[in-house]
């Protein structure tokens, strides 16, 4: 499989805190990769560096063969890096359909309907996004990510606040997405990670602690100690 994304010695510090430190990371096309780690491990900072929301202190990012380190976020989005927010960031005063049409870069049209249908929100198209339930707002976030038709879809804690049945359908959705996009998933819900991820990267204190297939990660002593707890 060819490389889609590569970071070299990627670092970011906030004052004295090294949130991400010298991370060499690579991602192949078509992969579903989970990034896990305890709170404060630097997961969100790491994907924010990739999406361009935060500038790195040092290091470089290569996406689809191009060095994108100096590109502003909107140009990276145009090149195919989509980021769905951990804290929902939708247009609360616009309808669900308008939200997705904006993401599809065809505002004022019905271009968003297919994507709403894919996340199961077709019947909510005309509802103001701010009045949707929290779980539905999360799904709207995902629909907006899909509407960008990204090469790389970064999902930051997508199942947080979803009910069990919503998580079930979400897993199906990610499998569906992964047929034509690469997925980078930050997730706390271990069953979801184990079900979806082809490979797992474990971050701890800004560094990569371990990387491998789900079964290897589950068996790793270091990971057990840092993150999963014993047993």
């Amino acid at each position: 499989m060819s490389l889609l994304l590569e970071t070299r010695a990627l670092s970011r510090s906030f004052g004295g805190l090294k949130a991400v430190e010298a991370v060499d990371f690579s991602l192949s096309r078509g992969e579903v990769r989970a990034v896990i780690g305890p709170n404060g491990a630097g997961k969100t900072t790491f994907v924010s560096l990739i999406s361009g929301r935060i500038a790195p202190s040092s290091g470089s990012i290569v996406f689809a063969g191009e060095d994108v380190t100096a590109l502003p976020a909107f140009r990276r989005v145009q090149r195919g890096i989509a980021y769905t927010f951990q804290i929902t960031s939708i247009y609360a005063n616009l309808t669900a359909e308008e939200n997705v049409a904006l993401a599809a870069h065809r505002p004022g049209t019905h271009a968003g309907r297919d994507y709403l249908a894919r996340v199961g929100l077709a019947d909510r198209a005309a509802q103001r996004a701010g009045t949707l339930s929290y779980g539905h707002q999360r799904l709207l976030e995902v629909a907006m990510g899909l509407a960008l038709r990204p090469k790389l879809l970064i999902l930051d804690e997508p199942t947080q606040g979803l009910s069990d049945s919503e998580i079930e359908s979400f897993i199906g959705l990610v499998r569906d997405v992964a047929r034509d996009a690469t997925v980078l998933l930050i997730e706390h819900n271990m069953p979801v990670v184990m079900t979806l991820a082809h490979r797992i990267t474990v971050l701890d204190r800004g560094r990569i602690l371990a990387e491998g297939r789900p079964e290897d990660i589950r068996a790793s002593d270091a990971v057990q100690r840092a993150y999963l707890g014993t047993g």
Binding site: P72, Y91, L94, P107
Partner: protein, 316 residues
């Protein structure tokens, strides 16, 4: 665009057209003034109402048009149509430069930066008093206001011509506003107002769109300023003062920000209110102030904004 939206806006223009046959000379003159200034408010609304950027410095673009046209005809020997075009061109250039700088700030800082630039422009007008004649102002004599266009002789001292020209300019400004807000860019401007960081993360170059809105509103302001100078034969520094930066904001708020006709209605109401109040008191601004407070309390979204919210959801 739906039929009723076209009918509504065309109806307003038609009503204003018919009004000249019924109203007194004084009312016709007042409405000429209202329509010229409503163009200013319409442009301001694109920036403030639709894009969510509150500028306190648009008097500098209004004054750019005003002095561009006034000096153009009196000092540089331009004809009226040429002076209009030059003034609008200058408005575009000045607003592009000022926008590129001031849009690096946001929120309150943006308000302050635009205010400072505008005050600097106001002081510049006074500094070059030899040319601008300061607060005494330039009076444009009638000979400079006669012109011929496409073989037709015209004289801006003629109140009928002036009224209909102002109406044509207003119709043009309303049509351009409608076209802008219903375009792809117009939707992106609203998206920036609603959630700027998200809009950038959807791959839109938000800085470019904000500059577009800024320059559009600057061009409308210069257009309005140039029309004002040539139609009313006067360009004075009062028209470049902070008061003229606040006016379009008040007119827009009164009529309804982010509604196309709101600024037009707001401009008209404010004018008529001042006119009405000054008929029986010298403290006419007090009456205006009370009216504004009542409006903010009971119609926080402005008149058309509140109407849209309650009864007319289709109103653009």
């Amino acid at each position: 665009m739906s039929v009723r939206i076209i009918l509504l806006h065309a109806g307003v223009i038609l009503a204003l057209f018919l009004m000249q046959f019924l109203a007194s000379d004084y009312v016709v003159l007042t409405f000429t003034r209202i329509m010229v200034l409503a163009v200013y408010a319409l442009g301001y609304n694109i920036l403030f109402g639709y894009t969510g950027l509150l500028s306190l410095g648009h008097a500098m673009f209004f004054a750019t048009g005003l002095y561009g046209a006034a000096l153009g005809v009196t000092r540089f020997g331009l004809g009226v149509p040429e002076a209009m075009l030059v003034a609008i061109g200058l408005g575009i250039i000045v607003s592009t430069v000022i926008g590129a700088i001031s849009l690096r700030a946001s929120g309150v800082a943006f308000m302050i930066v635009t205010l400072m630039f505008s005050q600097a422009a106001f002081l510049t007008v006074l500094y070059f008093g030899d040319y601008t004649r300061g607060d005494e102002g330039i009076v444009i004599s009638d000979e400079f206001r006669r012109f011929s266009l496409f073989g037709l002789e015209a004289d801006l001292a003629n109140p009928v011509l002036r009224y209909n020209l102002a109406l044509a300019f207003l119709a043009l400004a309303v049509a351009v506003t409608l076209a802008v807000i219903r375009s792809r860019a117009g939707h992106v401007l609203v998206a920036i107002r609603e959630n700027e960081s998200r809009t950038a993360m959807l791959g839109y170059d938000t800085a470019r769109y904000k500059l577009l809105a800024f320059v559009l509103s600057g061009a409308f302001a210069a257009f309005s300023g140039a029309s004002y100078a040539l139609m009313f034969a006067y360009a004075g520094s009062t028209l470049a003062s902070i008061q003229y930066s606040i006016h379009p904001l008040l007119w827009t708020l009164l009529g309804g920000a982010a509604t196309v006709l709101g600024p037009v209605l707001g401009t008209a109401l404010m004018f008529l209110l001042v006119d009405f109040a000054s008929g029986f008191t010298s403290a006419s601004l007090l009456v205006v102030g009370v009216a504004l407070i009542l409006l903010v309390l009971f119609f926080p979204k402005g008149i058309l904004g509140t109407l849209r919210q309650r009864y007319l959801p289709w109103l653009p």
